[in-house]
Amino acid sequence: MAISRRTLGLGLLGFSAAATGAALYGRSNPLIRGYLGETTKLSGFIGGEKERFVADPDVVTALRRRAGLELDARRAGSIEMARERAILDQKPQFLWPSSSVVVDLARASGVKIRRDQVILNSPIVVYSWDNVAKGLVAGGFAKADGDLRYRLDLSALLGAILQNKRWSDIGVPGLYGNARLISTDPNRSNSGFMLVGLAANLLGGGVATSATPATIGEQVATIFARMGYKPSSSGKMFEDYLAGGPGAQPLIVGYENQLVEWVLEDEARWRRLEAAAPAKPVILYPEPTVFSAHPLIAVDDQAGALIEALMTPEVQEIAWTKHGFRGPLGIAGESGNPLVKDRILPRIDAVIPMPDFHTMLALIDRLA
């Protein structure tokens, strides 16, 4: 069949347009860019507890190979990343806080959210030391669950703190001064923020609402005032805990995954510590507790691809086996490292929801 010049011309034009389009599409698609060896850089802020996960070479490789993404993630408190002008003015492409409530908070601060998705979960726990935990058991504030993990009556502990009880009064000898539980700054960081919600729930005897009496807010404020200086990031708080030992950091609030991650990061270190350290870290599970979800907030369209990449089974498996994060549904992964298996609760049944966003705002405003 003869093809007229005109048809040929149009055909060529069409082909070249299609080819250009495909090439352009390819360049804009991070996946294709990834295969081409090109990467899209995304900058944003993450809660300190995910710093090691994001820096994990396996995660870096997976994000680059599978999605052509390279992250420039700075540590910031989950609450401050959703509210502080100094942070939002840096035009982050994504935010990765540690609580679903923060998504509403970011929206209320005027952040244009393209998409958000819970990637990981970890329950809020209390970290302590074996000698302190044994004291709490003797004092009736905790129960041993096996040899290596504990269930904590957080309600009773908060009551003792409110009554200005000294360590010796609650069964813990050898520590000087008043009993205290330390968390991060609830106006900047999520683990402190979640303790506010949990404490309000426990003190009020149910999920706190805007109808919860003001006296509960006052009690929560007292508990936080007794903490003194509160770090701005959960990651830093946990490092301080490990470095400080029972004399400096007897009881702190954190995420379950933090100890798991630390143990798995250097198993030899953990074995040495188990054999020789004068005090060993232990997890106390508050009953009930709250779950910290880690929603990725895509501010920029390109960050949508980051959500996809983080939800792949490959990355989720790394999150559990190397960093101790439970999946989006809060269930522990299949494989369990023997070093941590007996220290964590496979199922956490006593969970209470966080108060809603407006109630939380009212509570933390008192603590600013």
């Binding site: 003194g228 490092e239 400096a248």
Partner: protein, 540 residues
């Protein structure tokens, strides 16, 4: 100091060079140390607390292995904090290494510091001459802060302590004292700060300060240097690790060591964190810092860090063995005082500067010789304007108090008429106006100025209620003889340290002579007189 200008091409080259070096090293089976010859690595500026000086060789080893040029700028932790906060004079550094991470948390509002991780810990404790500790009964029993207050109040104990507003160890010791002075076993609150009883106790404790400084490392050196000259200070608040260093040196020269007192009701702990300051120099510099952290966390290097008396992170290895003879034990569990809320910290530091510390008695000898004409006198005016404007000094926590005595003396070949005042606003205005009309002319004799400073201080020195200092700012070679001043100084009872600020073509050796003899220090004013005058304010 190394600026940020090294970014760009040299960085690309450096990466290539490092890769090449690594490849060659790998191929030849050479160690990293030999691959170090590459001269074109990155330039890295490090802002570090003075107590980290002893660890600098470790860092330099790493820098050398990367062909990097690492420049240390030793600053107080609060200075590093001010630099992080400042929009006008931002910190010129790629690595920050203050004594404690709390200062980064308080000042780094734009979250420019990444990957902050503790290298080692050291509590701020009290080292007391062993014979003194025995006399006080402290070698037998555990000691509380109340015991220390009692000893100071009875006149049985004096100590060296760095400035609470300029140095982390001073701030830590001061906040721990305040907290334990409150005595309720709780964190410090704003209410506590206004309690007359707490203020009284804090003032009583701070009355024990014999010498102060803007740097804990320098304080340790001062202790040793003065010991050599026969000046036996009773005690010093400092890091456990600095006290160990001091003792190692004292024992080596068969001098009496310090007995380490760990107050059982709580001490402050430094966590010595190292972090990357992101000022846009790119991934290469960031990964350099991450690799440096890994290097410092390697088993071999940690062993060497532990050997300095620093406490390693949990499970990271063995701390230095205890020394029973000095009560040194970096594995001993300690009770840490909980730091208060940031606002309370800030209020407490201002309270220290304005009301609780021993008042300072400062004589400022200001060179107005002919060579100061032009840039010199301009900078001197600027410095006077800074020093005598309460808002500007307060912003950097070096404000004068109403109790402080300031004697400003201009000098050329002879001392001029002194202008005196305190920190009250009217005096400050007058001193500023006086400073701004200074003119240059004539020769240079700093010794005669120092002598008249000593005379002008005599009455207040007699009361024993002040921390004195003579500060000499000069830009030239002085005529006259140091002996003329030192004779008077010895007659006075060796009480006043002399600090020098060099400017222009100043003869550093002349100032050095006075400073070393009297237990003072030299500050380099050539990169800015304002900064030098600010720094010297931390020393009395």
């Amino acid at each position: 100091m190394i600026g940020g200008g090294a970014a760009g091409t040299p960085m690309v080259l450096s990466r290539f060079a490092v890769r090449l070096a690594l490849a060659l090293a790998g191929a030849l089976g050479l160690s990293l140390g030999i691959a170090a010859c590459s001269p074109s690595g990155p330039e890295i500026a490090i802002a570090a607390g003075s107590e980290n000086k002893v660890l600098e060789p470790l860092v330099q080893e790493f820098c050398k292995s990367r062909g990097a040029k690492c420049g240390f700028n030793y600053q107080g932790s609060l200075d590093i904090g001010f630099g992080l906060k400042s929009a006008t004079a931002p910190l010129q550094a790629d690595v920050v290494w203050p004594a404690a991470s709390i200062w980064i948390d308080l000042f780094d509002e734009n979250r420019k510091v990444k990957h902050l991780a503790s290298v080692s810990q050291s509590p701020v404790i009290l080292g007391v001459r062993k014979s003194k500790a025995e006399a006080l009964g402290w070698t037998r029993d555990e000691v509380t802060t109340a015991d220390i207050v009692a000893a100071v109040e009875k006149g049985d104990l004096k100590f060296l302590m760095s400035s609470a507003t300029q140095s982390n160890s001073g701030a830590g010791a001061y906040l721990a004292m305040l907290t334990t002075a409150v005595g309720k076993g709780d964190v410090l609150t704003s209410g506590d700060l206004s309690s007359p009883d707490v203020r009284q106790k804090a003032r009583a404790l701070l009355a024990g300060v014999e010498r102060s400084s803007g740097s804990s490392g320098w304080l340790g050196d001062l202790f040793l240097d003065q010991d050599k000259r026969g000046v036996r200070y009773d005690a010093m608040w400092n890091y456990e690790a600095v006290l160990k260093e001091t003792n190692d040196a004292l024992v080596a020269r068969r001098s009496e060591p310090l007995w380490l007192v760990y107050p059982k009701d709580g001490v402050a702990v430094s966590d010595g964190p190292i972090g990357y300051l992101d000022r846009g120099r790119g991934k290469d510099v960031e990964s350099f810092v991450l690799d440096l952290q890994k290097f410092l966390a390697s088993a071999e290097i940690r062993k060497r860090i532990a050997a300095t008396g620093r406490r390693l992170p949990l499970g990271a290895g063995d701390n230095a063995p205890p020394v029973a003879d000095w009560n040194f034990d970096p594995s001993r569990p300690i009770t840490a005082v909980r730091p208060p809320e940031p606002k309370v910290i800030w209020d407490a530091l201002n309270l220290y500067q304005e009301a609780l510390r021993l008042p300072s008695l400062s004589a400022l000898c200001l060179d107005v010789s002919g060579s100061m004409e032009g840039e010199g006198i301009r900078q001197l005016h600027e410095a006077a304007s800074f020093l005598f404007t309460p808002q500007t000094t307060r912003a950097l926590l070096v404000q004068w108090s109403a109790e402080d005595r300031i004697i400003a003396i201009p000098f050329s070949s002879v001392p001029g008429k002194a202008e005196q005042g305190t920190g009250v606003p009217a005096d400050q205005d007058r001193l500023k106006a006086w400073g701004l009309q200074l003119r240059a002319g004539g020769g240079t004799d700093m010794y005669s100025c120092a002598r008249s400073a000593l005379q002008a201080m005599a009455a207040d020195l007699g009361t024993g209620r002040f921390l004195p200092a003579i500060v000499i700012m000069t830009d030239g070679q002085s005529q006259g003889s140091p002996e003329s001043f030192l004779r008077d100084w010895r007659q006075d009872g060796h009480r006043v340290p002399v600090f020098g600020i060099t400017f222009g073509d100043a003869d550093r050796s002349q100032l050095e002579r006075l400073a070393s003899e009297t237990g003072g220090r030299i500050f380099d004013g050539r990169s800015g007189l304002v900064e030098a005058f600010r720094a010297v304010r931390g020393y009395n």
